[in-house]
């Protein structure tokens, strides 16, 4: 993808990603507050636990007598408290993590809807789906463990250091020095590993999208006889993924090792230092033991962060993709009145529309001016790639015109109006899509709550009623996998039925005759003629059969309207339309007679 951000700029932006993820977490009240509170309480309980444990051992060790009972109770109490706090903390962070991910996913989904089919078509579907599912799930550990570990590291070590300084400053000094050193190492290695992690995420995501392709295209692969090769392709891409990930982990785990090492050595330092001072008689056994017991607890948050560091990186890598999606601009002008659209046919006026697909130099349509009066039938003809479909996508609001505007009933259509606008459109696209559900369910999406008679009437008008009744369960026959069990012509007719049911102010048909046989085609021309006046009707046809009765014919050529007028007018002009028509007539004549 040409606009894909390069890796280097992504890793530069990863601090930014973390900031946005933090801000998102801060959106949930008490996420940070409660985490901090639980951390602080945990710290206090740990200090009490270790202090009582050291007292117990020390008394037994030095006095060789049973220590006081109250110490056992204190220890048991603190153990209970500690377990309870750990329980609460885990439960709380996990539940919040669920909530945070869920809102993030909803935001991203809404964004994808706003960006529209054009974006979904250029990005790999599997990629977007992967991002919204696995991608968001990658943040599970980020919010469950990584951020709480960060909070913990801010709370526990300072509290413990304060306490240790108060009791025994030389030990406190060791903690004070080693703590920041560990953080420094962590940062050093982390910044390097982050870049690799970004690469890995992208490779994994494209791996997922490749799978969807490989599965959906299995039939084509089989017919081409290369489905075996595809297995090798999957194996080699999985292997590449493994090698890449292992390369990253070698570094990522190194940071974990440095942390562990620093923590272990520090604990050993505390132990040896305490031991020497014990020999010298400079400190008592109990304070020494207490230092030794507390030291591992002091380094535990660092080790925990080291363990979750990987999760943090993975999360932020996935999130930066997610934010890249969320940052796609799709805003347009939003000033002015919303157009008034009702049940009656709407008038449409296009003024200087221009659109260029991303990554293309030439605009697909330019300087498009046309008026589609309410209730009129407009036919659009022109060669492949002349901008006809782009024009309907602009009308649908699936593409946002770079320049110019569309007026509906006199008022300009704003981005915020598209949703309502589409509610008044009946649309038959080049590739009609059918959703999982019965035939009836699919038809009803066009107008929820329509009566059975109305649905059947629409199906009859579209010439779909007959074949629907022949299906195993009639209108209740389930359609799956984009209705792949239907033939091309049946799909087309079902799509027309769906559009007729909508009873929209506008009817847009994009190549409705592309895979219909002459009989159905003729029948459909009838349907369009009969609906004339009920909708503002726009028909794109590669064949000229259905356009004869149009009030106005727009002839597209190279992104512009080359000619317009009624059939008779255009014939008289003897321009492109005439050319087109005579060629078609010649074609059929040549083999007909």
């Amino acid at each position: 993808m040409s606009e894909r951000t390069t890796n280097s700029s992504l890793s530069d932006g990863s601090g930014h990603t973390h900031r946005r993820l933090f801000l998102h977490a801060a959106g949930v009240p008490a996420y940070f507050g409660l985490n901090a509170l639980l951390s602080a309480l945990l710290t206090l309980v740990i200090i009490v636990q270790m202090f009582s444990l050291s007292l117990l051992i020390a008394e037994a060790f030095t006095t060789r007598e049973w220590p006081g009972q109250h110490l056992f109770f204190l220890l048991a109490g603190s153990i209970l408290m500690r377990s309870l706090l750990v329980w609460l903390r885990e439960r709380f962070s996990r539940r919040q993590s669920v909530r945070l991910r869920s809102t993030l996913r909803q935001d991203a989904f809404q964004k994808v809807l706003s960006l529209g089919p054009q974006y979904a078509g250029t990005e790999q579907t599997g990629g977007i789906v992967g991002l919204l599912t696995e991608g968001v799930e990658k943040l599970e550990d980020y919010y469950t463990h990584y951020i709480p570990a960060l909070v913990h590291i801010v709370i526990l070590p300072p509290l413990v250091i304060l306490f240790v300084f108060y009791l025994d400053w030389p030990s406190g000094l060791i903690l004070l020095v080693t703590g920041p050193v560990i953080v420094f190492f962590m940062w050093l290695i982390g910044t390097y590993a982050k870049k690799i992690s970004q690469d890995q995420w992208e490779s994994m995501n494209s791996l997922g999208a490749g799978f969807l392709d490989a599965i959906q295209g299995l039939k084509t692969l089989k017919l081409l006889g290369v489905s075996q090769e595809e297995t090798h392709r999957i194996a080699s891409s999985s292997n590449r993924f493994r090698e890449m990930t292992m390369r990253m982990l070698t570094v990522a785990f190194l940071s974990g090792m440095v942390l562990e090492l620093a923590a272990s050595i520090s604990i050993a330092m505390v132990a040896v230092q305490v031991g020497i001072r014990l020999i010298e008689g400079m400190m008592g056994f109990q304070p020494g033991l207490f230092m030794l017991l507390l030291a591992p607890e002091f380094y535990l948050p660092f080790r925990a962060l080291g363990q979750h560091h990987h999760a943090g990186m993975e999360g932020s890598a996935a999130a930066s993709e997610l934010f890249r999606l969320m940052d796609q601009a799709n805003e347009g002008p939003s000033a002015g009145q919303p157009p008034k659209i009702g049940q009656t046919p709407a008038s449409i006026l296009c003024e200087g529309l221009q659109y260029t697909y991303p990554g293309q130099d030439e605009p697909a349509v330019r300087n498009l001016d046309c008026a589609l009066p309410a209730g009129s039938l407009t036919a659009i003809v022109g060669p492949t790639g002349s901008g006809k479909t782009t024009f309907t996508r602009l009308l649908m609001g699936y593409l946002r015109a770079g320049e110019g505007q569309i007026r509906v009933n006199g008022d300009p259509l704003r981005v915020s109006d598209y949703e309502t606008w589409r509610g008044h459109i009946a649309y038959v696209s080049q590739h009609p899509w059918f959703f999982d559900g019965s035939v009836m369910d699919n038809l009803l999406t066009a107008r929820p709550g329509a009566e059975k008679e109305e649905v059947e009437e629409a199906a009859r008008r579209a010439g779909a009623h007959q074949f629907i009744l022949q299906m195993s369960h009639g209108y209740d026959t389930p359609l799956t996998n984009n209705a792949s069990s239907l033939s091309g012509g049946e799909r087309q007719r079902l799509a027309v039925a769906r559009a007729l049911l909508r009873k929209g102010a506008v009817l847009i048909l994009d190549e409705p005759t592309s895979s219909l046989d002459p009989e159905t085609e003729r029948y459909l021309g009838e349907v369009i003629r009969r609906t004339k006046g009920k909708h503002t009707c726009i028909v794109i046809a590669h064949r000229l059969n259905t356009v004869r009765h149009a009030d106005n014919i727009l002839v597209f050529n190279k992104g512009q309207i080359a000619e317009s007028g009624s059939h008779d007018e255009l014939i008289r002009v003897q321009g492109i339309y005439h050319d087109f028509l005579s060629r078609q007539a010649w074609k059929y004549k040549s083999k007909g007679q």
Binding site: L53, I57, A60, F61, R64, R82, S83, V86, W87, V98, Q106, F109, L113, S114, A120, Q124, G126, T133, A209, D213, L218, L223, L224, G225, S238, F253, L254, M257, V258, L261, I267, A271, G275, I279, F285, T384, G385, T389, E419, A426, S429, Q430, P432, F435, Q470, S472, T480, N481, N482, S485, G488, S514, D517, P518, R522, H542, N545, R548, F580, K587
Partner: protein
Amino acid sequence: MTGRLITYLKVHKGKSLLAILLACGTVLAGMGLMGFSGHLISRAAERPMLVDLFMITAAVRFFGISRAVVRYFERLVSHDLTFRILLHIRTSFYRQLNRFSHKWMMSKKPGELLTAMISDIESLQNAYLRIIAPVIVSFLICCITFVLLLLFDGWLAFAVLLFFLLNGLLVPFLALKRARGGGVKERRARGKMKGFLVEKIQGMHDALWLEGRERLIHQMETIQEQLDEVQRHHANSSGMVEGLNQLLANLAALVALLLIIPLVLGGQIQATMLAALVLGVLSSFEALQALSSAFVHYDGFRASANSLHQLTKAGEPPAGPKQPAVKPLGDHPHLAFRQVSFSYDTTRQTLRDVSFELPPGSRTAILGPTGSGKTTLLNLLTGLWPAGSGQVCADGHSIDELDMTSYRELLAVLSQDTFIFNRTVRENLLMARPGASDGELEDALNEVGLSFLAGKLDWSVGSQGMKLSGGERQLFAMARALLKRSRIWLFDELSANMDVATERKILDTLWSKLHDRTLVMISHRLVDMDRMDQILVLRDGKVAERGSHQTLLESNEHYARMLQHQMQLIQDKV
């Protein structure tokens, strides 16, 4: 499930063993570090000579360093192992998928398959790291700790063992019980979400005007809530497990302390060992931490494993003497339909008693209205679906007896739903002729009139070729067919989505390239019919008429009527 996973582990025996040894080493080093540290300061408190402590301080340092290093390698080895297992499962799954009939594939949603392939397989890869390894490591550490403590005191050893068992068996049991059914539910919710997203994103151009943003968002929220509910339940289980882990480890240390104090007071155990033993016991429970939390997810692993298994089992080709007797076939066989009947489901007979011959070099057109069975003919001819009754033959052999891959190599098929992959132009074309030079690819593109792609072989054509227009995709598929060195061309609705001028051009290309190839053209339009050797008109799954253009015109039946319809459409206008 475990059985199948262990099969995968067996392939990587050495690595698995190493990973487990390293994991045990990590825990043992931790026990050593804490134990010797406790011992060190206890000894130091007795104020001996500094040299007497030399061995102990060295041990403390040794264990401190080795814990970090061993842990590093343990993580590397076990992750590498995980990925190798992953690769194994993935490819064997796809290979299986490849063997399945097209019929079975059609009944599955691609979204569902993708969930299976990615999520389930990924979940299974974790099963090793999260379940199998922790179980073995816990068991080993438990044994080692028990034996070590036996050296000091039997009661002590049994008491700690009891806590080990509580933590290693009871907590996982509780976790398992709480999570029961959760894994299946979570899987279902995830699958549903994925299916929903695949469908609504691929079909967004229709979803947006039909259902509208608000309804889509609402549907998504409902699905999300189902997933959230399961995950919240998991959150509670995980919290419980973590808390209990913490509680049992610390209680074990407390009980150990209670048991050791009398022994120290009685002189059976040296006083310096008191701190060492308590700290050692506390550290040994590190082995169990991973174990119990794994069982929160056990149900999920099992659900994934089961569904993968079911998916592959369900699609298994029917058992029987399916070993294809590889019949020798020339590169240009004589194809034939012999009394073929077929139905996709029980209620609708799609083809009835269809017979025809396709001699080498013949040109056949198959005509008929929508739904008359034209495309089904193609599906049977290419062996995607097995014939219901009757035979599809190549050189007299039923194609069921042939090796499908080499049979299909003889065919160049252009179907209505030819899939264009989200890869580069080159990769898409190379599928048809692996190893073709760039020049050959460019020639093919030029011939079909896609010269603008010839200079852009590295250009990616977008998801399902969506960066191309409908007509261009058709031309692209034609380029693929031209590239394939096949003597039999099967074209289904070649000129759909094309304007008249392009259709003329592509047909001219076709005729000029055809030479002595066999051509089967399925169409609903009557174009260039006079160049066909035979024309079959299908109606309601039966061959209603057959003959040449001339004879069919003369008989003045279906074909003549179709032609008349088509002419009328033109005459209406001109």
